[in-house]
Amino acid sequence: MEKSCGPVWVIAEQIDCRILSVSFQLIGHGRKLAAALDTTVEAILLGHQMAEHPRQLFAAGGDRVYLGNDPELAVYQPEIYAEIIEKLAKEKQPEIILIGSTSMGRELAPLIAARLDTGLTAHCIDLVIDGNNVLESRIPAYGGLLSIICPDRRPQMATIAAGVFPNPEPDGNRTGDIIPIEVPKEIPQRIQTLKVVREEPEGMDLESATIVVAGGAGAGDPAGWRKIADLAQVLNAALGATRPTVDEGWAALETMIGQSGKMVSPELYIGVGLSGELQHMVGISGAKVMVAINNDAKSPVFEQVDYGIVDDCREFVPVFIEKIKAYREKLKTC
């Protein structure tokens, strides 16, 4: 096939030999970009005991997988990973490189971008090809949407959080080439990941939750935060947070929703004591019903929800919890 430009690349990420969902989502969206550019989608997969995994990447829409399958690549090793990808990119000249906005991706992406002398966009919530065949990365800022482009250098690079793009429908009939890559021998051993420790996350998984309760600075103090957490528990909801509550130490960083945190798409979203800043609100897409509880009737959050409660959340939430319990009890007896 004659291609009009280099391929679209996705740096796939695996943890304990499981490919992350964001990698599939990027391949799915990468197909659209590739169609607009009349080119192919290729994934780079680094790990160990991953021989069978390229199939999943083909099913998601990949045309080719560069596979580094070696004990040295089992966990993320910054300099080895960056070296492999730099060398391969210099040889293959990809047009675009997409990377998941994970803790690995956020470190690896700038290492690669600087080595390739190119630009890199963070926290994208959409990626489109513009009229000049240039990648436009959209990011929320200042209550609006900025489009960032890298007009003169290649590749064009961006990081994107899980959940920004949908999971592609896997097509088991798709196949592609697997190109093995070697671990370079001459890498200075200046940095080594000795160990990776993952704990079971506390509470419900935000990305797959059908109800999300998000708390903001209006909680006031840890006791106020506790009440919001209770509401989440009663609703069997995942508890999300805004940035100030993470800064205060009430909520864990993993629970932050928004541009620089998690992307969620629940059926029901309840925002408690938060102001509806765009950087938070872009993290909620396609919620069927949205509710805000805020003591300031003029808060911009009320322009972005279906139901509004103007009240002190520390007073209102306990009453709301009782009403929910009463409703649930009634359901049981009917």
Partner: protein, 265 residues
């Protein structure tokens, strides 16, 4: 002596940054005179350096790229205990993306002289890309560990650090000189003291432009930036809201009813 460089950025005060908005008509930024402050995470980067200095003795240089007003945050760092301040300020530096910023800072670090460790914040509160630390390291050809939460061991040339991961951490052994970007978990920054402010009066801030740095205009600022903003749009996420009225009990009751009717409870 052990030499530490701390990179600090002047940012619009995060408490007032929400006042910076896009004018829906002209599509330009309305700045509303938001004051510039020391990027919150950079206090933790400086604190890491100060704690090291207290334990082992070290010389701490603070480096910022920004407009002349950014000198104030450098001064603040001197008052907190840093030894020397450097401000990279030049019209030509304006409009830099993360790449051009990191390039310019790396040039500044090289000009300051030999160093052992560079501390950065994990992210700024405005651009918040997290790219600057890793890109500085790449330009300086040294390793980087981002998002560190603990320095487990200083063992000569080899440091062992913990770095944050989703629901966990990684333990990394790294040879210095290296760049570390820090999280809030690393320490508790000290506050300004009166004696610190007095002592800082005697400390100088060195200012360098493109000439002193020996960089070309084309490699810095907007011209040296691969990434540019192409368009600014306003965003419409409005929904038609129903504000539920009545006493607290009534509002709660109505809300339960609405949610039940919508089939989401």
């Amino acid at each position: 002596m052990f030499k530490i460089v701390v990179c600090v950025k002047a940012v619009p005060d995060p408490k007032e940054a929400c006042n910076i908005k896009i004018d829906p008509v002209t599509k330009t930024l309305m700045r509303c005179d938001v004051p510039m402050v020391l990027n919150p995470l950079d206090k933790y980067a400086l604190e890491a350096a100060l704690q090291f200095k207290e334990q082992f003795d070290a010389h701490i240089s603070v480096l910022s790229m920004g407009p002349p007003e950014a000198g104030n945050i450098v001064k603040e760092c001197l008052a907190l205990g840093a030894d020397q301040g450097f401000l990279l300020s030049d019209r030509a530096f304006a409009g830099a993306d993360a790449f051009a910023t990191a390039y310019t800072l790396a040039k500044g670090i090289e000009k300051i002289g030999p160093f052992d460790v560079v501390f950065c914040g994990m992210a700024s509160s405005d651009g918040s890309t997290e790219w600057v630390g890793p890109e500085i390291a790449t330009f300086l050809k040294i390793p980087v560990v981002t998002r560190i939460t603990e320095i487990v061991e200083y063992n000569g040339q080899w440091w062992t650090v913990k770095a944050e991961l989703e629901n966990g951490y990684r333990l990394v052994r790294v040879q210095i000189p290296a760049v570390f970007t820090v999280t809030r978990a690393l320490n508790t920054p000290r506050r300004l003291s009166f004696s610190g402010i007095i002592k800082a009066r005697k400390k100088e801030i060195t200012q360098w432009g493109i000439q002193q740095l020996g960089v070309s205009e084309a490699s810095v600022g907007l011209k040296g930036s691969p990434s540019i903003v192409s368009t600014i749009a306003t965003m419409d996420s409005r929904r038609k809201v129903e504000i539920l009225e009545g006493k607290r009990e009534e509002k709660a009751e109505q809300l339960v009813q609405r949610l039940a009717n919508a089939g989401v409870l």
